[in-house]
C-alpha cells in the first residue's frame, strides 16, 4: 500500500472504468472489446485495495492468487514486482484477467463491495499480465535445477498449459501433446478474438516455450500414442484433454443444414478463421437470422460472433431467465449492448426446415419457473399451448459437452464415472499411479480458471510424487 493515501482517502476513490470499443462499431469487427487501462488508472485502482489482514478475495480465487500482494506492489508503481508476484501464482494472468468470472470469485469477496463496488481485480490482473508480456526480460521465469524427470501433459488448453508451466518451473522436462494444429485448446478454438486475442495466447505459450516446455501439435493421445505408451516414456503424466462431444438437443430437424454445435461454429470462425473466407479456406454459413440455444459463456460467444459475421438478428434462446444465466455478467452486458436479442423462458422443440432441408426456423415453447431442481436453480416448466416459431436460418446449439472417449477408450485402466469423466483422488491422481488428470475431462464442462486450478494443484502433487517415484528405463518408443 503506497503511502500517498490515508484509508479514508482510499475509500473515496471510485472504481475505475475500462474503456471499451463502441458497441455499434465493435459488433461488426473482431478486435478486442475491452481496451485495457492506462498505467495511472491502474495504479489508482490498485490503491483502492485496503490490504485486508484476512483477504477473502484470495480464497475466492481457484488458483489462490495473492491479490493484495500484487496490488500493493502495483500501487507503489513496482510493476516488475507485481508481475513477478502475480506470475508466481498464476501462469496465464493475461488470459484469466480477460475470461475469469471475477464477479463470482475474487471480486464478490472484496470488502469494498459491501459498500460500493469491489476492487477491479480482473482489470488489474490483465494490466499486470500484459505488462509482463511486454517486459519479459524484467520478469524471467525462475526455473529450478533440472531434476532429470520427464513429464507429459496431454492437451495444450488452460489446464495443460498451467501444469506445464508449474512443472517446468520445478525443473522437470515437460512435453505437451496437442491434438489440434495450434496450442491453446479452448482459448484458441472456443473463446473469440474479440474477448481474448489469439496474440495473448501465443505470447503466453511462447513464455512457456522459453522456459523449456516442448509443445507437440497434431498428436492425438488415445490414437497417435496411448497413455500406456506414454507411461513407458515419461515419469508422470497430466491429462487435460478437455471437454469433447457436443451435446445436441435431440429434437426433430437437428441435422438440417444450418444447425451447428457451438463448438463447430466457434472452431470454424476462431481456429479456422472462417470469417475471412475466401482468404481462409474454411467456410461458415453466414446466417441472416441466427438463434443460439443456451445461456452460458459459449452461447454469448456464439451469438456475438454471429452478429460480427453479419447476422441482421442474433438471438439467445434460454429456458430460464436472465438471472439464472451461467454466463459472466460482463458477457451478458456486452451482448445486450451489441444488440443481441434475448428470448428468455423459451425452449426449442423442433428445428423447422424447407423442402431442401435448410433451416428456416426454430419452433419453441414458452416456459415458467417452478420448484428448484438438483442444481438449486428453478426448474423450467412448459406452458401448454405456447408453441411459436422463431424465424432463423442458422441455429447454434450451446448446451454443453460430454466427455470425449478418444483417450479413455484406449486406456481401460483409467477409472471413469458414469458420465465417462476420469475419476481422480484429492491429489488429482487417477487410478493409474503417476497419471494425473484435471479440467473438463474430470469436471465435465467447467471454466478456464477451474481447469487452471486443477493444473496448478496437480503439478504440485506430481512434483511430490516424482520425489519418490521409481526412475524409468525408457524404451524411446515415443519420438517427439
Amino acid at each position: 500500500m503506497s503511502e500517498k493515501y490515508t484509508t479514508r482517502e482510499r475509500l473515496k476513490i471510485d472504481r475505475q472504468k475500462m474503456s471499451e470499443q463502441d458497441p455499434q462499431v465493435r459488433n461488426a469487427n473482431f478486435a478486442e472489446v475491452n481496451l485495457g487501462l492506462q498505467e495511472k488508472v491502474a495504479l489508482l485502482e490498485a490503491e483502492r485495495c485496503l490490504q485486508c489482514r484476512d483477504p477473502k478475495c484470495v480464497s475466492g480465487c481457484p488458483v489462490m492468487v495473492n491479490i493484495p500482494r500484487f496490488l500493493d506492489l502495483l500501487s507503489e508503481g513496482n510493476l516488475a514486482g507485481a508481475a513477478q508476484s502475480l506470475l508466481s501464482d498464476n501462469a496465464l494472468p493475461s488470459v484469466t484477467g480477460r475470461v475469469c468470472p471475477q464477479e463470482t470469485q475474487c471480486e464478490i469477496e472484496c470488502i469494498r463491495g459491501h459498500k460500493g463496488l469491489p476492487v477491479a481485480v480482473g482489470y488489474l490482473e490483465r494490466y499486470v499480465g500484459d505488462w509482463a508480456q511486454g517486459h519479459r526480460d524484467q520478469v524471467p521465469m525462475q526455473v529450478a535445477p533440472a531434476t532429470g524427470r520427464r513429464v507429459a501433459v496431454v492437451g495444450a488448453g488452460p489446464g495443460g498449459l498451467t501444469a506445464a508451466g508449474e512443472l517446468a518451473r520445478r525443473g522437470h522436462e515437460v512435453t505437451v501433446f496437442e491434438a489440434l494444429h495450434k496450442p491453446g485448446g479452448v482459448l484458441v478454438y472456443g473463446i473469440p478474438e474479440f474477448r481474448l486475442p489469439k496474440k495473448i495466447v501465443e505470447d503466453e505459450v511462447s513464455r512457456l516455450e522459453q522456459a523449456g516446455v516442448k509443445i507437440v501439435c497434431n498428436t492425438v493421445i488415445g490414437r497417435t500414442y496411448t497413455i500406456q505408451e506414454l507411461r513407458a516414456e515419461f515419469d508422470a503424466i497430466f491429462i487435460a484433454n478437455g471437454a469433447g462431444l457436443p451435446v445436441f438437443m435431440n429434437v426433430p430437424g437437428e441435422n438440417f443444414k444450418g444447425v451447428y454445435s457451438a463448438n463447430e461454429y466457434l472452431t470454424r470462425v476462431n481456429l479456422m478463421s472462417a470469417y475471412q473466407f475466401p482468404r481462409a479456406d474454411t467456410p461458415v454459413l453466414l446466417g441472416r437470422r441466427v438463434a443460439t440455444v443456451g445461456g452460458g459463456n459459449v452461447a454469448m460467444d456464439s451469438a456475438r460472433t454471429a452478429k460480427r459475421i453479419g447476422a441482421e438478428a442474433s438471438m439467445i434462446v434460454y429456458r430460464r431467465t436472465r438471472k439464472e444465466m451461467p454466463a459472466r455478467a460482463e458477457e451478458i452486458h456486452h451482448a445486450e449492448q451489441e444488440g443481441i436479442e434475448f428470448e428468455f423462458l423459451v425452449a426449442p422443440v423442433e428445428v423447422v426446415g424447407n423442402e431442401k432441408r435448410w433451416v428456416t426456423g426454430l419452433k419453441c415453447v414458452r416456459m415458467k419457473l417452478g420448484e428448484p431442481d438438483a442444481s438449486g436453480r428453478a426448474r423450467p416448466e412448459i406452458i401448454p399451448g405456447s408453441e411459436f416459431v422463431i424465424p432463423c436460418d442458422v441455429v447454434v446449439v450451446a448446451i454443453g459437452t460430454r466427455a470425449n472417449p478418444l483417450l479413455t477408450a484406449t486406456c481401460p485402466e483409467l477409472k471413469l464415472n458414469k458420465w465417462g469423466n476420469i475419476v481422480v483422488d484429492e491429489q488429482g491422481m487417477t487410478s493409474l499411479p503417476g497419471v494425473f488428470a484435471g479440467g473438463d475431462i474430470v469436471r465435465g464442462a467447467a471454466t478456464v480458471i477451474l481447469a487452471m486450478g486443477d493444473g496448478k494443484r496437480a503439478a504440485a502433487a506430481m512434483d511430490e510424487y516424482l520425489k519418490t517415484a521409481p526412475r524409468l528405463s525408457r524404451s524411446a518408443a515415443v519420438a517427439v
Partner: protein
Amino acid sequence: MHEIIAKQGLSPNVTRLDVKAPRIAQIRQPGQFVIVHLAEGAERIPLTIADADPERGTIALVIQAVGKSTRDLVALEPGQAIAGIAGPLGKPTELIEKGRALCVGGGVGTAVVHPIAQGLKRRGIPVHSIIGGRSREWVIFEPELRQLGEVTVCTDDGSYGRKGFVTDAARELLAAGGIDMVYAVGPVPMMRAVVNLTRPLGVPTIVSLNPVMVDGTGMCGGCRVTVGGQTLFACVDGPEFDGHHVDFDGLMDRLGTYREFEQRASQACEAGQCRVGLH
C-alpha cells in the same frame, strides 16, 4: 512438417501422395484416416490412409481434386511438405475372421477399400474386389488390389473391363453366393445401391462415410451421421458403419452444405487469387 516423398497421378483428377509420417505409418490400421492441415489458413481435410510403408516411414494419401483445398494439396511436389498430419483417427475396420469378403470400390473410394483388402488378405480371408470408374483412365488401384485377390473392373462406357456399374457385377457375384461380408466405399449413391443389393440377401455390409469434418477428434459434431436412428460422429464412432442402417439421404444432404462456398473458392482460385496458406 511432413515431406512429400513421391507423387503419382492415378486418374485425371486423382493423385497419390506418399508423405513422411513415420509414427502413423507404423501403427495405422485398415479403415483409419488422418486430418491433413496443409498450412496456416488451410482447411483441415480428412483423408483415408490408403497404404503405408513402415520402413520408409510414409503413408499414401489419395486425393480427388474437387475443390480449392484438395487442389492446393495435389499441387504439392516431392520435396515440399504438409504442415500437420494428425492421426491415425477413426475406428479400424471390423475385419471378418473367416469366410469370403467382397470389396466394392467406386472412383476414389477404391483407394479406401485397398487397406481393407490388405487387412483381410493378412488374415487369410479370400477377397474379391469389384472396382469401377467412368472409363479406363478413371480406374485406380487395380494392380495393388490384384496382389490381394481377384479383381473385376467395370467402366460405365465399357472402355475397360466390363461395361456397366460396379453394382451390376456385385449383383451377379452375390447371387452366386458364398460372400460373408461386403465392404463398400465410393460415392454415396453407389454405397446406397450396394446396401440395397445386400440387404434382401442378408449379407452384412460395411460402408465408409465421408461427411464434412473439422477437428476429427470428436469435438465439433460437424460429421454427425444418422445410423439406425441414432446420431453418431463419423470421426470417433466411424468412419465405417453398418451400411444397412445408414441414413444415406441425410448424409448426401449434409454433404451439400458448403456447395456454394466451394464454388466461390474455386472461382477465386481460377481468377488467379489462389495461394497456399494465409499471408
